[in-house]
């Protein structure tokens, strides 16, 4: 299957069995659908393998990489601005996800097609941070009162903040999962354990917490089209951080502290299955011991993830089973995030205003 071939190329760009042009046609399209085409370019570049790419393939991947580099530059520009605006407040500023990887300059951050800048502060500091950003010209976009309330009360982030002169928004978080969900990671503990970057002003989650966050993002809070990329991130982190002597212990301790056994269990399971990631054994056992789902549940999860993870034939509408799988996974996320009466209310309000596709011309 093409998508699995794609994963093999990520693992080893210079493998002797290079794809034919026709195979590349499919692979590039699948990579694009999964938002990993620019990452593939970065992977080939890191391996010194760009010359192995046929010219039209290199041009397409180069084009995707150009978009990613623009977003990375805009992210760095936003980060410089955040230090100026929020620095004087003397609070911990913890970068999450793409913004973190870019600031850390880790390999899985290169060529990353990032979007918003995700910033976490302690819950108690949200009002001060928000006020400072507003004063510097940041505003919520056009959102309804309902949406704003959804974000503030029930979610773990404020509505995205936008600035008239800057292309990328800022998402301000106080924890890594919605507060109404079944899983309640400890936001303050995450900040306590965070690590300062060399510049001294910005911080990132501790390595074991970055792994946990990605697992959460993958299965609890994903917009469902970035799973391939998240799984690649997870694999890269397990390889990179796994080299540290006490990573396994720290991961085991952190998963217990935050009660994130289930996400870690599934994250490790699928990283190993699809990417052959090295396993932190102690943490894996700890997660499995507490999270072990019943075999039927696990079988269902395996099937859902397999169908949802890999983009289908690019010429056909998304395969019915894939769409169903994504909907089922999304429904699971919602169910785990919302108590039933809140879920009903949320869905009711969302369905009253369906979104429209862009008109052409």
């Amino acid at each position: 299957m093409s998508a699995q071939r794609l994963l093999l190329l990520f693992a080893d760009p210079l493998q002797p069995q290079q794809p034919t042009l026709a195979q590349w046609d499919r692979l590039v399209r699948i990579a694009r659908i999964g938002s990993v085409a620019s990452l593939l370019h970065a992977r080939y570049e890191a391996a010194g393998a760009l010359d192995a790419l046929p010219a039209p393939v290199a041009r397409q991947l180069r084009s995707e990489r150009t978009v990613a580099e623009y977003r990375i530059r805009m992210t760095r520009w936003n980060l410089e601005h955040l230090v100026e605006v929020l620095g004087p407040l003397d609070i911990e500023l913890v970068l999450l996800k793409g913004a973190a990887y870019i600031a850390q300059d880790v390999p899985w951050g290169r060529g990353r097609l990032t979007g918003d800048v995700d910033l976490m502060v302690r819950a108690s500091q949200i009002p001060r941070a928000e006020a400072a950003l507003r004063e510097a010209g940041w505003r919520f976009g056009e959102i309804t009162d309902y949406d704003e309330r959804y974000y503030r009360e029930w979610s773990h982030e404020l509505p995205p903040l936008m600035h008239p002169e800057r292309p990328l928004p800022i998402d301000l978080h106080h924890t890594i999962l919605p507060v109404t969900g079944r899983l309640r990671p400890d936001g303050d503990a995450l900040v306590d354990a965070s690590v300062a970057l060399p510049d001294g002003r910005l911080r990132v989650l501790a390595p074991e917490d970055q792994v946990l966050h990605t697992c959460c993002h993958l299965f609890e809070d994903s917009d469902m089209w970035h799973q391939l990329r998240d799984l690649l991130d997870l694999d890269a982190m397990l390889r990179e951080y796994g080299r540290g002597p006490d990573f396994d212990e720290r991961l085991a301790a952190s998963v217990a502290r935050h009660g994130l056994h289930r996400p870690l269990h599934y994250g490790l399971r699928y990283a190993r299955r699809y990417l052959g990631s090295p396993m932190p054994e102690r943490a894996r056992r700890e997660a499995a011991r507490h999270a072990q789902p019943s075999p039927p549940t696990e079988w269902l999860m395996d099937a859902l993830v397999a169908r949802s993870l890999f983009p289908d034939s690019p010429d056909m509408p998304v395969r019915a089973s894939r769409l169903w799988a994504k909907r089922a996974l999304k429904a699971r996320q919602f169910a785990r995030r919302f108590p039933p009466r809140l879920l009903a209310r949320h869905l009711w309000t969302k369905w009253v205003r369906p979104s429209r596709a862009p008109a052409l011309g």
Binding site: Y70, R73, M74, W77, E80
Partner: protein
Amino acid sequence: MRDVPALEVRARPGLRRRPLSVDSIAVFDPRSWRTHIVGGAAAMLLTLFAERGAHRVDALVDALDLAGAGFSPEEAQALVDKALSELHGCDLIERVVADSAPVH
């Protein structure tokens, strides 16, 4: 009277400049990836900063030789002030307090 350090101004480091015509230049800011078209006195100032680095604010009128171009001292000062304001608004220049780190 307290000895106040001279106020100097310079172009932000890293700017890329390309002349477009006799009195206008295109400036690319690698931090924000913004492009600015700068003309007249503002263009002359940027060229001056490129050639001579930081420069005292109170000596800019002389350095540009605007009097030689037929402007009265008041007109020349007004032109320089407006140009500085334009460049500052585009985030293309920064203050340098002599003997210390750059300040905004």
